[in-house]
């Protein structure tokens, strides 16, 4: 009796664990992209490279003796700084030119990846995953994956606090809703854009910093986050508060279920089919539908 309950608990826990793992990846990969897209309508094709920046800075810092959490903060910060610099120089000329922003950010992405290849070489030694493992029933799990899930929840909570409880948040939401009116009321929209782009880039860097101990490092590694981040932002819609979390839950359920029953290929395909269905039914994503319902 107890053994059966033990086995059932282990199975249930493992399903929950897999969902938490997939959910964390979707949220952390998408958060930065969602803010930049939601605020400025910019489709940031260099999103993967901000993640890579976070990864490399974190790993190199750890290899020079910096403790991991500090190195990760450094990784996120460095990506944010680069983001602000990029926004001030290139991106701010492209606000009303969405197609041009795709081209420009893609060009930046190419320059960064191939530049890293030339300067840092084709691969970099990795760092190990911290915190060991724990056992539930017949399964062992990496404890660090729980940290990733916690971080995803933390990012969502922090975004809520920032956008709903701070002065910046009020001004940012105003700018997102109606930039011209916000500017007329005294909001310095230029500074909003710079800070928001920096925040989006920093979140991408944080995603990289968090996943750095679990992956192998090559300059083009940003591409492994791109599908999940773009898919989540498309399904979630422009509002990062109302859209990203529900999108993460929906896509997380789809992917976890398909991964478990039919394997990784089915999980990948299912993700993309879900996007097609969602944007057919809800063209502005989940957040667009939710905000429409509220009116």
């Amino acid at each position: 009796m107890h053994r059966r309950r033990g086995i059932m608990f282990a199975e249930a826990f493992s399903i929950a664990f897999q969902f938490a793992d997939v959910f964390a990846f979707l949220i952390l990969a998408a958060a930065g992209l969602a803010i930049i897209f939601g605020m400025m309508g910019i489709i940031n094709m260099a999103h993967g490279e901000f993640i890579t920046c976070g990864i490399y800075v974190t790993v190199i810092a750890v290899q020079h003796g910096v403790p991991l959490p500090v190195a990760q903060a450094l990784g996120a910060l460095s990506a944010g700084v680069v983001g602000i610099a990029l926004e001030r120089t290139i991106i701010r000329h492209l606000y009303h030119r969405p197609l041009d922003s795709i081209l420009a950010t893609w060009g930046i992405s190419l320059m960064v990846t191939q530049g890293m290849l030339i300067v840092l070489g084709s691969s970099w030694q990795g760092i190990g995953t911290p915190l060991g493992s724990f056992k539930v029933g017949d399964y062992t799990f990496s404890a660090y994956r729980l940290v990733l899930f916690g971080a995803a929840l933390g990012v969502l909570a922090a975004l809520y606090l920032i956008f709903m409880r701070t002065g910046y948040g009020v001004m940012a939401r105003a700018t997102m809703q109606n930039a011209a009116m916000a500017q007329a009321l005294g909001v310095r929209t230029e500074r909003m854009y710079a800070i928001s782009f920096g925040l989006g880039a920093a979140l991408a860097g944080l995603c990289g910093a968090l996943y750095a101990p679990t992956m192998t490092l090559i300059p083009t590694m940003g591409v492994t986050f791109i599908i999940e981040s773009f898919v989540t932002v498309v399904v979630g819609g422009a509002n990062v508060l109302m859209g990203t979390a529900p999108a993460g839950i929906l896509l997380g359920i789809v992917r976890t279920a398909l991964n478990a029953w039919y394997g990784q290929i089915a999980g990948q395909i299912g993700l993309l089919i879900t996007v097609i269905i969602v944007i057919r039914i809800l063209p502005e994503g989940v957040s667009g539908w939710l905000s429409r319902r509220e009116r």
Binding site: F25, S122, G128, F141, I218, M221, T224, A260
Partner: protein, 415 residues
């Protein structure tokens, strides 16, 4: 004609005459045209860490051969294009090298997908193509000379040893494209011959980097060992994530350690208990191997790892040199006549290796290696020289006909 006009025309005749004398003098010492070697190697993009050593191997071999006088007095001229792991670009660049640059020989390709993308293009020309990677075997094509190791050299040595040492139940994880699918097929075939069983198979799309579910599936299936056929940096994250979850099964592979030097890139113990069968890995300790490694590092001091692909690229140029010198020609038909005699051999750093006449694949000195807990490499077993016998056994004989096909254990020639 005026007086000045006559002087001008006399001057013109004198200039022309002296020019003619100079031209006649230089004709006698005219240089022989170089032998153009077309290289298609990925040195940027995802697979750059494996492709860069390939280019370096060709550069080293070309420099050594040219310094020793070239091939039949002709210098090697390398024309390298970087397809960036894009199969469409492989095809475009293959056409460019064959039609515009008119190369005498084409060398290159990393993934099996890229090889199959350009093989039909090469077949329409009279240019020989050297594929320098280990792969899933089976290509019976007169244009293609395969320098890398094949399943009867890698799997037929690895799998019986893994079954005998660890057990009869294996779980396969493979990249989801032709190499992964066909290698998994070979694994099923050879496990059956060992009375073993493939208790689970997972095919992973290229670019997937998160393996939580895979790790759980492996734990549930509880195999005796894992066959690791994952390809690419993203899929290599499996090893780190499995180690973090304390997955401690022994692993076997035909591609790990020797190609992507994972044991150098990941911190221990991610690659511990990995076993592989290779004709070349940098840790080989013989006089010929050590001399080769010294020459390589003299030219490329920052090389992270001299991998099997780089070694094969280096060996391929020497093999081409041998063929051309024995045939006294660069024509494909003449080179194939030399191969048919069975005398197409080189003294490579692994030992003396020859091209098999029936399949145009290369014999290799195979060693079974194991990765220790600290990521040092030890040689567990020396299998000696193994010929690429499988294609000949199933009926491929390029000395008699040219089917231009790739065969697999379930896709054999019609009798």
């Amino acid at each position: 004609m005026t007086t000045s006009g006559r002087r001008t025309s006399l001057r013109g005749i004198a200039a022309a005459a002296s020019l003619a004398v100079v031209l006649a003098a230089t004709q006698g010492s005219a240089q022989q045209p170089p032998i153009k070697v077309g290289l298609l190697e990925d040195v940027s993009g995802d697979i750059a860490l494996m492709g860069k050593p390939k280019l370096n191997g060709s550069l080293l071999a070309a420099e050594e051969i040219n310094n020793a006088g070239g091939i039949m007095g002709r210098k090697i001229e390398l024309i390298h294009l970087d397809p960036q792991m894009d199969n469409a670009r492989y095809q475009e660049f293959a056409r460019r090298l064959l039609q515009r640059d008119k190369v005498d020989v084409l060398i290159g390709g990393i993934t099996s997908a890229s090889r199959e993308a350009i093989r039909p293009i090469v077949n329409r020309t009279d240019v020989p193509y050297f594929y320098t990677n280990q792969y899933e075997g089976g290509v019976c094509d007169a244009s293609t000379i395969s320098i890398g190791a094949v399943p009867e050299q890698q799997f037929s040595t690895l799998i019986p040893w893994m079954v005998e040492t660890f057990g009869k139940k294996v779980y396969t994880i493979a990249a989801d494209y032709n190499f992964g699918q066909l290698s998994a097929e070979w694994t099923r075939d050879l496990m059956k011959k060992q009375n073993g069983q493939v208790i689970g198979e997972e095919f992973i799309p290229l670019g997937v980097s998160q393996f939580g579910q895979t790790i759980q599936n492996i734990q549930k299936a509880n195999p005796d060992w894992i066959m690791a056929l994952n390809v690419g940096a993203s899929q290599d994250s499996f090893f780190e994530q499995a180690a973090a979850a304390k997955l401690a099964f022994p692993m076997g592979s035909s591609i790990k350690v020797m190609l992507g030097f994972e044991h150098k890139r990941f911190p221990p113990p991610a690659l511990a208990k990995m076993h592989a069968t290779a004709n070349w890995f940098e840790e080989i300790d013989t006089p010929a191997a050590n001399d080769f490694k010294k020459r390589w590092r003299a030219k490329f001091p920052n090389e992270a790892y001299i991998n099997d692909m780089g070694y094969n690229a280096y060996t391929a140029l020497y093999m081409y040199k041998t063929l051309v010198e024995k045939a006294k020609s660069t024509k494909k038909a003449d080179l194939r006549k030399v191969i048919a005699t069975g005398e197409a051999c080189v003294d490579a750093p692994e030992g003396k290796i020859c091209i098999d006449p029936q399949s145009q694949h290369t014999s290799h000195h195979m060693r079974l290696i194991g990765v220790n807990a600290d990521h040092s490499v030890r040689v567990i077993k020396d299998f000696g020289l193994i010929k690429p016998y499988w294609l000949g056994e199933i009926g491929c004989d390029l000395t008699k006909n040219d089917p231009k096909t790739q065969y697999t254990p379930t896709n054999l020639p019609k009798k």
